[in-house]
Symmetry: D2
Subunit: 344 residues, 4 copies
């Protein structure tokens, strides 16, 4: 059994990790930390876990964490970078669900996150944990940067086209819609029901931290410098991301050829589902499931629209983290991740 | 492996049965029927099942159904009663998620459902499938009337008090709040988002079909004639029932004694969770899970308030049906039913 | 023109007062205060007011307030009591939308609000501002305690029965459902969309500050000591209160007589709408409107159920405050209050 | 007083017309038609109107309609075209909130709406009722094609840039998000709460009837042939459209110049509100109000993003219709249209 720990267990990615790890046949969660809630039972904060989990929060203790096999960081940026090096030195594998190791360039990180990177060596060793594109590297890595929720949806939708060099690079647009859980479990006025329910608004249109992450990864996959317009919107729903992706073909391509490109690229992927050409996936079709559903359109010749939906807390966070863990420990990648989406 | 069929597979209880039965280790779903959708893949209607289910709908065929081990009816009232007798004659077990066999008295059925009962003999043989109170009978039965969603929440909350003879019988009130999925997957104007979202209203205040079902069951459990005021409300949410139950104690009882009554009654029940005295369970704590969470209050001496929440599609329908099936086939009652509620 | 001021203008009752007062033909809002936002334009915080309001927040200044005709306090309890006496001394009328003057008994106030009352003399002079029952007193008062949102819905629904002495006093139950805006514009985790949307829960079942307010007022109207069970629930919606009220008749009464009692009591009331017997009012039918809609049921002989809905921010707060203001200044009571509810 | 009639008064645009016209100081609504509901009071269907409206539905009667001053058609396409010619012949002004007269080219209409146009002469006489761009023509017209909801939001957002010839014509994208009321008051399964709440999906990506309407109008305003990618999405909310518009500048332009372009274009418009550069308008800021709020961004040099929000039932339908009526009858354009948006 893999002995696992979760640092920062009071947010939504923390409880979602528990939902997936508690029934996982090869994992035992031994530690979950929270300074503020140390000593309290986890299920008093997350009553969905009553009867399933006897854990109590503890203050993070490096010595205890050092004895585990894997530690998940479900923390704001700036936390994992301070602990990861020591854990790695003790041969503990680390999966950071925060942003500390997503941007390979420490200066880019500093620019977007407003702090110097304090573990540049670990940053160089980190692997971007998107299994569909970096599977082999993940298997050999001991430090995983779990992708952001928006980047997961956007990259999975754009990458087949960019790998094949089919798109004009200067016209990419990702118009993304996210449920409110993507903003975290935090008491901000703009997230309360009277503000965020029954309304839609964009945010961060002029710049959002997930843009450089998307651009860097797509650039790597395409071998070109990719810039895109990324526009996030807050939706009056709890879970889910819907990415609407726009690109211009460099040369004519039939609908069938477009569809085949996606179908073949993801044919062997357990967690990417390519729908029939011209479909409209709904976020509810992935609620609670570790899957990305994708549909391709070509409304006018040369104009490609890709629709890509995920559950931001599962394929966009905790589920992908477990998928990475499975890979790191040479387990079947789908182990413990075959929950069917909750619909309705 | 238990060979199972689902009659009426295009509604919410149908898809929820599939969500629970497809991964069930002792069940293989062999048939799912729908006249209107015969020949179509189930996952075109319920995209959450893509990759999990290759079934196509078929028109109901008595000969095929007769070769199964168990048939679930996820149909409106009036359907199961016409098919159940023949299936029983072929030694097929039947679990009706509709209302045909819930009211033991055929005349009461006729009054509330506006049709004569066409299978009175089967009705006499049917067992009310609330495992927490009729477990032994269920094990020996071949025809199960799966309880209504409201009755499940209300009976589990009131029964410990009534079994013990603690309440005045003429002051019982069940003020119930249900998500819209309880009204079924049907295109009625009053259920569309602009009508039913961001609003609350009661319905059926002067009489609702679940009242006689609740009263009959509580009367049976208490040995007295129980009448209650049952007030259902439609909530702007998808899943969940919150029952707020009011009763007057016949004699003083301490808070601790009240709590002990519930805690002891349900101590061995895997799917009834008694919260600490004075708690406030939220429906989201049971979303997608086969559990009823209950909390007891005594705001003033003698005034008892019980809060009881379930997911109407799980413990209030499909999950309870699987629990009954497990019992009928002598499987562990929790098999395939330990999903953790999806929160948030 | 009435010169009006609003103290505490950054919450939902503050912006709702502006929505009603800005177009009011006999009012000019001259001051709106907020220490934290002093100097900022109001419409940067409430963009619905853009083009309608050039006001900026100011820090509260007693000298400026003393020159107004009326000051509305849209503040937490404990604020109005410190300012009201001086304003009254300067002949400024005061309408407190908070709780400082709702409980006539200072000791009861201290018990429920956890602070001594610091203006007991003003408290004695205050009038409970429910126009349907205290209209004459309001007209002569200079300090109005604007009723709480739950009390408004509950009292308007119960009072006709209690004034007539028709109910057993010991069986009253008010099961109330409120939208989240009732909790105020405050960044609490339990109010954010992932926590409070798509879920229902009760709160304060064992005791809530609105209970003594309801009990005191109903006792005053009935001439008896009224105790009731009051159970508030948080609904996944923005605005609206639905009160489901239960009582037992002391003697038989026909449905027609019950209906006539309500119809006659409120026949002349512009803001109480009695629906046909057995109706089910929805909160959306009053969204944004200063009206209480009421329907009466008698499911079994002697068991009365009253359904009463309001918009908590209008008839339950700002609208009622303007209604009181109109009364105090001898204006037509409906002036500026005839907005049609927004449906859908 | 203008004598007005509404044909097709059981949908959301019908009730919204009533909300605006009933208190309008220069209008008296004399007729509202519905074949199915003839004889029934309007307020039994729309309880928000109780106390405000004594009208009953009638079957449409050409003779009665012919005596009115103006008739609003709140009907599906194909209805107004059969009645408008006769009404015009009787000197009745017509405002069609449906699609019959929006596309000037009868063949384009036939292609997108699947029916031949049966009133081509009236079509030629019709004026597209977007006052901000066709104000003078509206004043002289007797038949108004009230714009679609999506087109209103998109055109108001794109037109200043296209009038000025600033954008590359082949890169326009309108990614639009609509509340469910845009689909009408109709009992379709995909609109009920369990399907459409707490989820987001696109629809009609490969082609939607509002695209040719947008393209024709923008082409007219720019003097060029405009093609755009239009992607509608269904949002889990009741009212509101959020249009996110993308374009590429043909030549560099400073942020200040971009902002000035919009600010100046709409400086005199009572119902278009240009927010400060880089703002993020929310649909709730226009809920119930006849206003379009617009914000401009330039995330990277040359990449323009315009955010445009309206209430689909007000500025996107009934409010704009009243604005057109005011114009046609030489009334102040804002008369009866200054409601403040309901927030929260």
């Amino acid at each position: 059994m893999i002995r696992a720990g979760i640092v920062g267990g009071t947010g939504y990615t923390g409880v979602e990790l528990l939902r997936l790890l508690l029934p996982h046949p090869e994992v035992t969660v031994q530690v979950i930390t929270s300074r503020a809630e140390a000593g309290e039972r986890v299920d008093t904060h997350f009553p969905n876990l009553r009867g399933m989990c006897d854990l109590c929060y503890t203050a993070p203790d490096p010595e205890i964490l050092a004895k585990l096999d894997v530690v998940f960081f479900a923390t704001p940026h700036g936390v994992a970078m301070d602990s990861a090096p020591e854990l790695l030195a003790h041969d503990v594998r680390v999966i950071d669900l925060g942003a500390d190791f997503r941007l390979a360039d420490a200066e880019v990180f500093a620019h977007w996150y407003g702090m110097a990177h304090r573990a540049p060596e670990a940053l160089r060793a980190a692997c971007y944990g998107l299994p569909e594109y970096f599977r082999e590297h993940i298997a050999q890595s001991r430090l995983i940067a779990n992708p952001g929720c928006y980047p997961t949806a956007v990259i999975l939708g754009f990458a087949p086209l960019l790998e094949a060099g089919l798109l004009h690079q200067d016209t990419l647009i990702a118009d993304c819609k996210s449920g409110v859980s993507g903003a975290g479990r935090t008491g901000r006025v703009n997230l309360i029901v009277p503000e965020a329910a029954d309304s839609v608004a964009a945010y961060g249109v002029s710049g959002h931290r997930h843009r450089p992450e998307i651009e860097a990864t797509l650039s790597k996959l395409s071998g070109e410098t990719i810039e895109l317009q990324f526009t996030p919107h807050l939706m009056p729903m709890i879970r889910g991301i819907h990415a609407t992706l726009y690109g211009q073909l460099q040369q004519p391509l039939s609908d069938a050829a477009l569809q085949a490109l996606f179908a073949e690229r993801y044919a062997q992927e357990p967690f990417v589902d390519v729908l029939p050409f011209g479909s409209h996936p709904a976020t509810r079709s992935v609620r609670g499931a570790n899957v990305c559903r994708i549909a391709v359109h070509q409304p006018r010749p040369g104009q490609v629209v890709v629709l890509s939906v995920i559950d931001n807390l599962v394929k966009g966070a905790a589920g992908q983290a477990v998928q990475n863990m499975n890979r790191m420990f040479a387990l079947p990648e789908s182990l413990g991740l075959t929950q069917i989406a909750l619909l309705p």
